[in-house]
C-alpha cells in the first residue's frame, strides 16, 4: 500500500487506537462531569434570597449559590479579623450571612450584586465560602457620572 511506512504500520495503528480510546474517555468523562456539576446541585446558577428561604432544596449543609444586594451598613468585621458578618437582600427578604476571608472591593459598591457560594448552618445563617461580585449590567462612563452628580 504505502511502501515507506509498511514496517511501521501495525505499531502506528495500535498507538492511534490507544490514543483515540484515551481521548474519548477524557472527553466523555469531562462532559459528564460538567453535566453533573451544572445540573446536580441546582438547575439554576444561583437562588435569590427569597427562594433560598422557601426552597426545601436548599437544606442545611448543601452547597448553593445565593444572590442579592448588600444591605447598607450591615457589614460588620472586627479589627484585624477576616471573619465578616453582613446581610443580603433581594428587596423582600433579608439573609444573614458570614464570610471568612478576603472580600473584593467591588463588594461594597452600591451597584454590585453579590453571589455567595456556601451553605446554611442549622441556625439558618448562611456560611459563605466564596464571594462573587456580579457585573453591573450597564457600563457607564466615569465622566458621565460626575456630570450627573453636578446636575
Amino acid at each position: 500500500m504505502e511502501p515507506f511506512t509498511d514496517t511501521q504500520q501495525p505499531h502506528f495503528l495500535n498507538r492511534n487506537k490507544i490514543r483515540i480510546f484515551l481521548a474519548s474517555i477524557v472527553l466523555i468523562g469531562a462532559l459528564i462531569y460538567f453535566a453533573v456539576i451544572t445540573f446536580q446541585s441546582a438547575m439554576v446558577y444561583y437562588y435569590t434570597v427569597s427562594e433560598i428561604q422557601e426552597e426545601p432544596a436548599t437544606l442545611p449543609g448543601r452547597m448553593v449559590r445565593v444572590s442579592g444586594k448588600l444591605v447598607p451598613d450591615s457589614f460588620n468585621r472586627d479589627q484585624g479579623s477576616t471573619l465578616a458578618f453582613f446581610e443580603l437582600t433581594d428587596g423582600e427578604n433579608v439573609l444573614i450571612a458570614q464570610h471568612d476571608g478576603i472580600i473584593p472591593d467591588l463588594f461594597f459598591n452600591e451597584h454590585s450584586e453579590i453571589i455567595l457560594e456556601g451553605s446554611h448552618d442549622p441556625s439558618d445563617r448562611f456560611i459563605s465560602h466564596n464571594v462573587i461580585v456580579k457585573c453591573p449590567s450597564k457600563y457607564v462612563a466615569m465622566e458621565e457620572e460626575s456630570k450627573l452628580d453636578t446636575q
Binding site: E2, N16, F34, T38, Y45, K134, C135, Y139
Partner: protein, 226 residues
C-alpha cells in the same frame, strides 16, 4: 492581492483599536480599567463562536459534495477556532478576577464555553487520529454539536441566571443603549478588527492546508506508482 489587503487592513485597524482601548475610551464607573478587557473579550468570543459554525457548515457541505475545498475550510476554521476558544477562556478568567473576585465559576455561560473548547479539541483529535472518510464523518458530527452549542453560549445569560450581564449588543439585546456611545464605537472597531484578522488568518491557513493536501496526494502517487 487579497491577502496583502487583508493583512494591511487588520494591521492598521489593530493599531487604531489599541489606541482606542488604551487612550480614547472612557473608563467604566464601577469596574474601572479592567472593564477595557471587554473590548477584546467580546470580539474574541464572537470569532470563536462563528468559527465552530463555519466548521459545522463546511463539514456538512464537504460530506454532501465530497469536495476537498470544503474540508480544508473546515479544518482551518477548527484550528483557528481552538486558539480563539482558548483565548475566550483565558481573557475571561483574567477579567473575572478583578470583576467578580474569582478566576472561574460554574456560570452557565462559562460552562457552555468550556464545552465549546472541548468540542474543538474533540474535533481536532478525531481529525488527527483517524484520517480518511470515516474520520471526517465523525469529526463533522462533533462540529455540528459545536454549531448547536454556539447560540446556546450567546443566549446563556438570557436563558439562565448568570454572573454575566445580559446581552450588550446584537439584535437580541434587551436594553437599548446599554453602552456609552464611545464604548459602542470602540466595541464596533474591535469586532471589525478581529473579524478581518480572522478572515485573513483563514485565507492564509486555508491556502496552507491546500498545499498540505497536495503534498499528501503527491506522496500517495509516488508510493503507489514508483
Amino acid at each position: 492581492m487579497i491577502r496583502s489587503a487583508l493583512f494591511l487592513l487588520s494591521f492598521v485597524s489593530t493599531l487604531v483599536l489599541i489606541y482606542l482601548i488604551f487612550m480614547w475610551v472612557p473608563t467604566e464607573r464601577t469596574l474601572g480599567i479592567s472593564q477595557r478587557i471587554f473590548y477584546v473579550h467580546v470580539p474574541i468570543g464572537w470569532v470563536g463562536m462563528v468559527s465552530i459554525v463555519v466548521v459545522g457548515v463546511a463539514s456538512v457541505v464537504h460530506l454532501i459534495t465530497r469536495n476537498n475545498f470544503w474540508d480544508a475550510i473546515a479544518y482551518s476554521a477548527a484550528e483557528l477556532g481552538i486558539i480563539f476558544a482558548t483565548l475566550i477562556l483565558l481573557t475571561g478568567a483574567i477579567w473575572a478576577k478583578p470583576a467578580w473576585g474569582v478566576w472561574w465559576t460554574w456560570d452557565p455561560k462559562l460552562t457552555t464555553t468550556l464545552i465549546l473548547w472541548f468540542i474543538y479539541v474533540g474535533y481536532l483529535m478525531v481529525r488527527t487520529f483517524s484520517q480518511g472518510p470515516t474520520g471526517r464523518m465523525y469529526a463533522s458530527a462533533v462540529a455540528l454539536l459545536g454549531a448547536i452549542d454556539a447560540p446556546i453560549i450567546y443566549l446563556a445569560s438570557v436563558w439562565w441566571r448568570s454572573a454575566h450581564p445580559p446581552l450588550n449588543i446584537g439584535p437580541l439585546a434587551e436594553q437599548e443603549m446599554s453602552l456609552d456611545s464611545r464604548m459602542l464605537i470602540t466595541l464596533f472597531v474591535a469586532i471589525v478588527t478581529f473579524t478581518v484578522f480572522y478572515i485573513y488568518l483563514m485565507v492564509e491557513r486555508f491556502n496552507f492546508r491546500r498545499v498540505e493536501d497536495k503534498l499528501d496526494e503527491v506522496h500517495q502517487y509516488v508510493s503507489v506508482n514508483l
